[in-house]
Every structure is written in C-alpha cells, then in structure tokens.
C-alpha cells in the first residue's frame, strides 16, 4: 500500500478517494523556489493511509460494531471512514454527528472512553473542502485502550460542535485549537484566545500563517528566518 503517488509536472488535480486525507502536495525536493536537486518538476501527492477493510484486527472490530449499533440508522452518515494504521484506530466522524458519537463513546459500557485527551487541530491546505481537521484521542481507562476521532471542517465554514458538555476536560483544549487554527467550536461556554494575547490577529499554527521569525544577523551577513530559508523537505 503506497501512500505516496508519483506523477510528473504539469497541472494535475489529485484524485481523492472517499475518506482519504490528502496531506500535502510536494513540489520537488526543496518545497519551492531554488530547487537545485534536479527534481524540481516532481509533484507528489501524499495521502493518509487508506480506509481499512473488515476485519480491522484486535479490538477494533468490536468497538466499531458497538458504535454502529448504537448509532443505528445514522451510522452510515456519521462514520465517514475507519482507518487502521500503525496499530491505531482512527474514526473519521462527520461533524453533525460528533456529539452523538461522543456521548456513546463515553456512556456505553463496552466503549467507556472516559477521557478525551484534548483536541489537536491539523491544517491540511491541500485537502480541498476538508482543510481543518480536529483530532480527538480518546482514552478508555476501564478497557485500557485508545481511539482517535477525526472531524473535518472546510476553511470557509470552520465550525465543529463543542464536546465540552460531554467531556468537560476539553474546555481549554478547544480554546487552544480555536486560538491556533480558527476552528469555531459551537456551544463552547467561553471560546476565547488562551495562548496568544487577547488582541492577536490571525491563527498562528495554520499553514498559511508564517513562522514569524526575523532574519538572523551575523557579521556581514543576514540569514532569513527558518520558514524562508531554502530547506530540504
């Protein structure tokens, strides 16, 4: 299973299979201008691992079965994809059904994922229509296992329902993800900036936000900031 597909040059739009995230489109080896490697024309589309086929292995089948049973008719719409990779289970959940899924995860005795280990935002600018991902690792203390819930939202409409009513521990994590990515968590009691100063403009950890460094001054020379240097990617 190759997660990198090689094509060469020209205007190409990637084929995005259902539920498969396009992480990045890599142009050449240096990611842009100044590519002296000779591979400057090489365009690579890098995808997340494919959606998995049944049987998933170990306890994953059981958990997905229970969840589908609890969701009933909504299961098709709610669970967009199931990815099994590197011994980890990732469920891609549609944002409208996130609250139901979380409630089942927490309450059902076979699932019992008591702890949500926070929200991580990831920005995939190449994944058209699903640029902002919110990743929720769920930890079950009772059954001693971990699951990942991934929800996506487009850049134009960055809204995801807040799960603080179900997992109060997510309060500050959602604030942090709002601060850094601009994902608005609907229903959060007080969605305000938490890390950056209150009047900061922009969401720093998005890929379209520069690193913000200054050129480093040496005697007789200046080196540009890390994100502007020519660097091998």
């Amino acid at each position: 299973m190759s997660d990198v597909e090689n094509t060469q040059g020209g205007e190409l739009s990637p084929v995005v299979p259902e539920g498969r995230t396009l992480i990045n489109v890599r142009q050449g080896s240096f990611g842009g201008a100044g590519d002296t490697s000779g591979y400057g024309g090489l365009t690579r589309f890098v995808y997340m691992p494919d959606a998995a086929q049944r049987p998933y292995g170990s306890w994953f089948d059981q958990v997905v079965d229970v969840l589908e049973e609890l969701l009933g008719g909504d299961a098709e719409a709610a669970i967009e994809a199931v990815v099994v990779d590197r011994d980890e289970l990732t469920l891609h959940i549609a944002r409208e059904h996130l609250l139901d899924v979380c409630r089942h995860l927490r309450d059902d005795q076979d699932l019992r994922f008591e702890m949500c280990l926070g929200v991580n935002g990831v920005h995939y600018p190449a994944d058209a229509g699903r640029e902002l991902h919110a990743v929720y690792p769920m930890q079950s203390v009772t059954h001693n296992r971990r699951l990942r819930i991934e929800v996506s939202a487009p850049d134009e409409d960055p809204h995801i329902p807040s799960i603080t009513a179900i997992y109060p521990m997510n309060n500050w994590h959602e604030r942090e993800t709002w601060d850094f990515f601009g994902i608005v968590f609907d229903g959060h009691p007080s969605l305000a900036r938490i890390e950056m100063p209150d009047d900061w403009v922009g969401h720093p950890q998005r890929k379209d936000y520069p690193l913000g460094g200054i050129p480093v001054e040496y005697k007789g020379a200046e080196i540009p900031s890390p994100d502007e240097r020519r660097q091998y990617r």
């Binding site: 990045n24 997340m48 590197r86 980890e88 926070g118 690792p137 950890q205 994100d227």
Partner: protein
C-alpha cells in the same frame, strides 16, 4: 483598574465583619473614579490579580481571584505568558532536531518530553520493536531520574511557597545529586536532547554505573530528610490536610491524571497500564491514596521518588550487564551517529568515527551527511504516543507528510489539563489555600503554554 485588599485582618472568619473601614489600593486611573467605585462597592467582594510575575505561581501564571472576605468565590487561570510556538517551530526542523524543541516544554522533567516524541516518531517509522534494549534501559533511567528531579522541585517549591526555605534547599540538593549523574551521561544538566528517534544520543561513560549506585543512597537521604521535615510538622499538616480536594469523579470529569488522580484512589499509571520502553520488566509499585488532598499528594510524590530509585537501581544492574551493546537502532538510515565521544580537546568529535566515515566506509559517510543535513524521511501518516510524565499523562500526536520534517506535532501536556482543575480546587476555600492548590497541581508553565 483593579482594587486590592491589604486588610491586616486576613484571618478573620467567613462573613465576619471586623468593623474596620474597607481599604482599597488603586493601581492607575483617576482618583474620583476610584472613590466612586469604592463607595459603590462598599462590600467585601474584591477581584484581584495574582501574577504573572509572582514568586508563588510556579512560573508565569496569571490567576484572577474573586474573593469575598477570605473565601475565594471565583478563580480563573490565565495562561499563555510562556507560549513559545514550539509546535509550529518543529514543523521547520528535521525530526531529530524536533527533540531539542520539545525538550524545552516541560523543562523540569525534560527527557519525558523527548521520550514521548521519540515514541511517536518511532511508531510512525515502525521501528518500535527495533530499539535496542540498552537504549530502552537508558531511556527508562533518564525518565526516572527526571521524575525524581521533578517531584523534588514540586515538593521543594511547595515548601518554599509555604515559607519553609529549608525544604527547598534540601530538595534541590537531592536534585543536584541526580544532575551529577545526568550530566555525566548526557552532557547537560537539563534540556538534554538525549533521547532521539531510534535510541539515545550517546553511550554511557565507563564509570556511570558506579556513579549511579553511589547516587542512590544520597538521594534517599534527602528524601528521608524531606519526609522528616514535613510530614509530621503540625504547620505543614494544618496547611495541607483537607486542602485542595478533588475526588475521583471530578478528576475523571476534568481529565486530571498523575499524582492528583492517584491521590483520589485510582492507581492509573501509564507505566503499568500501557508499558513502553520495557517498563513491564521492572519491579516497582504505583503509590495510591484515597485522601485526595494536598497532603496525600506530597506523600505520594515522595513515595514515587522512592519507587523511581528502585527502578534506577535495576537500570544500573542492566547497564552493567549490557556493556558494549548498541544504543541506537541498527538501521543506518535513521540512526543518528551515536558513537561520538569526547575527544582530548573536549569537543564531541570522535576521531575513530571520523576515520571510519572518511577512510573506511562510503556508506557511512553518506548516511552521516544525509542524516545531519537532510534528516530521515518518515512515512506519511499519524501516530499517538503517551508516557507517564511526573505530572500525569503526556501525549504526543505526530503527523508526517512523508518528508524529513514533521507536518504537525502536538503535545497533550498534563499540566494544561490539570490546571483547568484549579478553579475546582480553590473555589470555596481560603485565599492562602490557592498557593497550596497551585503547588499541588505541580504544572510547569512551559508545558502548559508550549
């Protein structure tokens, strides 16, 4: 414009009117506005600000307290004063260089950050089982030594904030003993960048095992001193017993892990439940208590230090038994050249390594060059790794786009979660207990703010 109370009757009872005129300290603003506000308020309810520059807030933490007399009615924590953009910066550095960034998050127990990041990267690479045993032993050794150091800082600064400087000096002397060993093995006292993807940076010098064995009784002596100084002291008990209680339901609702969760009765320790780096082969206990107050957490931390010393002793035995084994994964395309040694000029260039790459092996030269300049590429995907920090569950989510630099690295720091519980710990209690609550959470603002 904030108003502060400087009432000398700080120990007056709840709601008791001591008859003195209310005092206001005004910071900035117009006098007539202040007088007007004072007249309007005319009550004991005050809002004041603690920090971010404060000797007792364990770093740059801002706490907004609303106080009625001596009782805290509302407590909110403001963070972000140490936000460093570490996670974004890691996206522009190779996977190995990322270790030097993430180590500065929780700077009190720096190698736990490195360990979790490296576990995540190794999961992505798929080499988790290929890490040599000696490297795992060294990782466990370093994590336990930093665990002892972190708990000593927690106990020491906690005592210092209560006014007992001797507790701090004793704890820090114990910490210095662990630093001597850490510095001997890794080269630095803190922020070591020692644990790297694939193993550890460098093998131990010859006399390390003897040094470790000599250190253990010294640290034990300091731990005994700390226990003697504090645990039966009536002032200590008076200030810590029954204070900052957080029961199990509250802990689970707020996602609080670490000593706070274990003091509430749940023996949840990732070293036992999801062992990593060979922890399942070590013989140690997980101290638990049911009192769920600040006093039991101090006792727990001390006991965890003793357990960590047990693990350190076992590590020393294993190091002695595995002399000469590699400390880096065998795959030369990933392994940072770990056979460097300190030369006669004090620099880290190993003459034999240079002779090898320049004279003997072309592949070794290419690997060295590519690893140092370009880094190793990591297959695309995402992984999550978690370790037991001294403060709780430290998680790391890494996403790779197939390149030599991370696409995203995010850390779930236990201090970030635990600090959310500050409001629950302090509201309804007294102002003086806020300091105790902060000390008992034991968060490190570098990890909280990242």
């Amino acid at each position: 414009m904030t108003t502060e109370s400087t009432s000398p009757h700080a120990t007056a009872g709840l709601g008791e009117d001591d008859g003195s005129a209310p005092e206001f300290t005004v910071f900035g603003g117009d006098w007539s506005d202040a007088a007007e506000e004072a007249a309007r308020l005319g009550e004991q309810r005050l809002v004041f600000n603690m920090g971010p520059q404060h000797p007792s807030t364990h770093g740059v933490l801002r706490i907004m307290l609303e106080v009625e007399g001596e009782t805290v009615t509302e407590c909110r924590a403001g963070i972000g004063y140490l936000h460093t953009g570490i996670e974004k910066n890691m996206e522009f550095r190779t996977w190995t260089q990322g270790v030097t960034f993430c180590t500065r998050m929780d700077y009190v127990a720096s190698m736990a950050n490195e360990a979790v990041y490296c576990l995540g990267v190794e999961k992505l690479l798929g080499i988790t089982d290929d890490i040599p045993d000696r490297a795992n032993v060294l990782r466990v050794l370093m994590q336990e030594l930093t665990r002892i150091g972190s708990h000593l800082v927690a106990i020491g600064t906690g005592g210092n904030e209560l006014g007992a400087t001797t507790v701090m000096t004793t704890a820090f002397i114990g910490r210095e003993e662990t630093f001597k060993v850490i510095e001997h093995i890794t080269g630095l006292r803190t922020n070591n960048a020692y644990i790297r993807p694939g193993g550890v940076a460098i093998d131990t010098p010859d006399d390390s095992v003897a040094m470790i064995r000599a250190m253990i009784p010294k640290v034990k002596q300091r731990l005994d001193e700390l226990a003697l100084l504090q645990l039966e002291n009536p002032i200590f008990k008076g200030r810590l017993k029954g204070v900052a209680k957080l029961d199990l339901a509250a802990c689970m609702a707020l996602g609080v892990t670490g000593p706070i969760l274990r003091s509430a009765g749940l023996p949840y320790d990732l070293r036992k439940t999801e062992p990593y780096s060979g922890y399942e082969t070590y013989d140690f206990q997980v101290p638990t208590s049911t009192d769920a107050d600040a006093y039991s957490r101090v006792v727990l931390r001390l006991e965890e230090c003793y357990e960590s010393l047990k693990i350190v002793a076992q590590c020393a035995d294993r190091l002695e038994a595995s002399v000469g084994e590699p400390v880096m994964v065998a795959d030369k395309k990933i392994a940072w050249p770990a056979q460097l040694s300190v030369g006669s000029d004090g620099q880290g260039n190993s003459a034999e390594h240079i002779r090898h790459i320049m004279g003997e092996s072309m592949e070794a030269l290419i690997h060295h060059f590519k690893l140092v300049t370009e880094g190793f590429p990591v297959p695309a995907g995402q992984a999550y790794a978690a370790v037991e920090n001294p403060k709780g569950l430290l998680g790391c989510h890494v996403v790779s786009d197939g390149g030599t630099k991370p696409w995203r690295a995010h850390f779930r720091d236990p201090g970030f979660n635990n600090l959310q519980a500050l409001s629950m710990l302090t509201q309804g209690g007294q102002v003086a207990d806020v300091v105790v609550a902060i000390a008992t959470i034991d968060m490190v603002l570098g990890g909280v703010d990242r």
